[in-house]
Amino acid sequence: MSRGTRTVRPPRQALGGESPGGVGESVERPDGILKVTGEFAYSSDLWHEDMLWGHTLRSPHAHARILAVDVAAALAVPGVHCVLTHADLPAATHYGLEIQDQPVLAKDVVRYEGEPVALVAADHPEIARRAAALIRVDYRELPAVHDEATATAPDAPVLHPDRTDRHAAHVAHPNIVHRQPVVTGDVDAAARAADVVVTGEYEVGMQDQAFLGPESGLAVPAEDGGVDLHVATQWLHVDHRQLAPVLGLPPERVRLTLAGVGGAFGAREDLSMQAHACLLALRTGRPVKIVYNRHESFFGHVHRHPAKLSYEHGATRDGRLLYVRARIVLDGGAYASSSPAVVGNAASLGLGPYEVPNARVEAVALYTNNPPCGAMRGFGAVQACFAYEAQMDKLAAALGLDPVELRRRNAMSQGSTMPTGQLVDSPAPVAELLRLVKARPLPPERQWETVDAATGAPGVDVRALPGGLSNAGHGEGVVRGVGYAVGIKNVGFSEGFDDYSTARVRLEAIAGEPVATVHTAMAEVGQGGVTVHAQIARTELGVTRVTILPADTSVGSAGSTSASRQTYLTGGAVRNTCLAVRAELLRRGRERHGWPEVGPRLEGGKVVAADGSVLAPLVDVLGDEAIELELEFRHRPTQPFDPVTGQGFGHVQYSFCAHRAVVEVDTELGLVKVVELAAAQDVGKAINPRAVEGQIHGGSAQGLGLAVLEEIVVGGDGRIRNPSFTDYLIPTILDMPSMPLDILELADEHAPYGLRGIGEAPTLSATPAIVAAVRQATGRALHRVPVRPEHLVDLGQDGVA
């Protein structure tokens, strides 16, 4: 366990048998040794005899009509085997997660900069790149829409005419993907009764997931006319569902296997190179590998929706929230991706973890000619959290209350009702999480001051200052601030989605030892699901040896590695299947050996009676007859939100995290150093405590990035200005502070082991806590993230401070 982590948990609960390496232990990753030796095969590492390299030609324009495409010059390049355009597509021409609006290759129009137009396969990646550059595409540029005003103007170009999706009928303009209101109580009456009202306009920039392992995969044509695709993705089966129609193949001839995944964070939910590599492989009859470089990656996946948010909070004099009005406008870019679900989250979670008796919320996502936006860690809840937490601070200031005290007075708890009417029916320790982060001692001030050990002379360690190694200052004009925030995130797929996972578990005797084999299609993207599956099998089956098979589409769907859902859903599926395997084993024992109905458990490779006596070694019961079962696991059903009122039992589970940020700001240069970022989170049950810490740390880091560093800058022309790690800045180890944690384990009785999905909640509250701290340090209003130096210093008319 890390320095500085405190865990609060209820008395130990019985969890079947006691097995080393089981549930609740900080077990090491089964793929960890391969990853530290460099042997782990990521999707970009794959190689095949005879393989070709694919490359994608992309649109340079945000909105243009394609007048003509001439591929002759590219085809003539020695080493080029194939060039494909829209005209070559064999079957379905569009795909999409929720709405099939995205062309595999653009036909007569491109709707965003970077949209795929043509594909090349060649012997060497550089030949493919150069050949693609020789493809001549004649474009006629069209007017681009880039925000709500331009997208919903009466004469705005309609990006997707003839929409037939299920949201089309209820939106006011065809360039609105989806609109979700949430209405509860009587806001107008509450507004008349409010003693204090605060309003605010907020803005969240476009964040990139910036996983390190680029989009990549290898498609291998098969003898049956099908294709085997090895790919880094978040959900094999949703890729499969979209691919088979595009390839014009029956589903059983499209087989996907998960290659090593170098991070995901939402960016691998949509297809990127999957269809392209398969099409090239099927056309050439040769294996085809596609690997994006970083520049292409910025165009090759969806980003976090940038958002504009308007809020009005009204409260009584003693700090009770009476009402909230909110409007959240999300820029979905050129294609729908998961925008409808992001809208649902923003609307339903848009008031934060507070009791609000009266509310009127509206969230919309737009179609524009900006880069497509979709899933990223926090998924609609991140944008809202920045705004509602800024509002809570503003309200506290207006009331003369401590910001944590105001939050405490309004904090929801188990038994509270969401603005959607949903009862919060499991622990919601919002006030306690805030109390924990506030109770921590503050880090010492002026840590940059040093004293020379030999001479006693004072010095400065610039590494501890804003600006760090750039040696920007020596502590002049540096002020400290402290800020707090708390957030609420849903776990699992919501709004009536049939969200399930599948696990196949085999228990057998191998060389005199009981061995469990777990096979799921869960995408291990770094989160540690494979570790958790092995732990669950050990606990439930009393074995030591567990084999985790590679994820592929020969087993049922595991759903997506997103929405903080995999330990709950696929962990739950592994557990349930293990329980069924155990039941079958015990049934054998009852039939063959007359074991009692109640009492026997599996432990240490044996079947043990209630009194502790050994009934039989597992291997004896198994003999030559392995037990293998494949079962689906579902969480309790949810309901869609009412399209007018937003009422409904929409979410499976809620996840809460609170942060306290301590920052130091160089007020002359506008530089921010986050000195400490403490977090407290309820995780229900820490299946693997070390992995839980890693998730909270990693989520907090991405929240820090959004607060002070990360933004894809898109011009009014729809073009990305900074598609590189030189210009898009993610936190380095020098930007990250110490992150002490408080971890609560308050069981949710509806979830396997009482666990709560954990991956996303930390990303929500880190951002507003840091910005609150910067506000406190500088006295500036700061309505937009990321906060930049120019927001922290007064620029003259020439733009110079």
């Binding site: 460099g38 996983f211 390190l212 991070g263 790690f725 180890i733």
Partner: protein, 166 residues
């Protein structure tokens, strides 16, 4: 062109190398050593960090021809037989590995740090690893791992018989 290298102590030759190919491309695609990673290919992320005649470099920024005749050490050379190096072991045990894409580069950079400074402060670790991006961990467990490896190495040195240089 032909490029001759000594990779992890063994002489290696790559043929038909195109002059524009990077050392990273030659390692990964021509010599079967994909442990060094390709995350940004412009020297910003450190995922391709290797030692070139002992110096830390981003292999993506070194033209393969420039490295002709040099000694290159990569993540594949860190293990001694079946035994992990103290840093590899510490990264695995401390939870410093999630997706693991940054891990090879971090191991090379942290190894170079511990050679120079066997007992680094946290600020030293942060400075030495500031050229290596990690998107998963927030770096806390990476700090834990380097501290752990440093502590174990120090213990190993002090328990060795006197006079044995380490």
């Amino acid at each position: 062109m032909r490029v001759r290298l000594t990779v992890n102590g063994r002489p290696r030759t790559a043929d038909d190398v195109w002059p524009g190919e990077s050392l990273l491309y030659v390692l990964r695609e021509r010599l079967g050593l994909p442990g060094s990673k390709n995350a940004c290919e412009q020297g910003e992320c450190g995922s391709c960090t290797v030692r070139l005649d002992g110096d830390l470099v981003c292999a993506c920024l070194v033209a393969a021809g420039q490295a002709d005749g040099a000694a290159v050490d990569t993540v594949e050379g860190l293990r001694r037989g079946d035994e992990l190096s103290p840093l590899q072991e510490a990264f695995h045990e401390a939870g410093a590995v999630q997706c693991g894409f940054c891990t090879p580069g971090l191991l090379m950079a942290a190894g170079e740090l511990l050679e120079r400074r066997p007992d680094p402060s946290d600020a030293d670790i942060r400075e030495a690893l500031s050229g290596n991006l990690c998107r998963c961990t927030g770096y806390e467990k990476i700090l834990d791992a380097v501290r752990l490896a440093a502590a174990r190495t120090a213990t190993a040195i002090t328990t060795e018989p006197a006079g044995e240089p380490s």
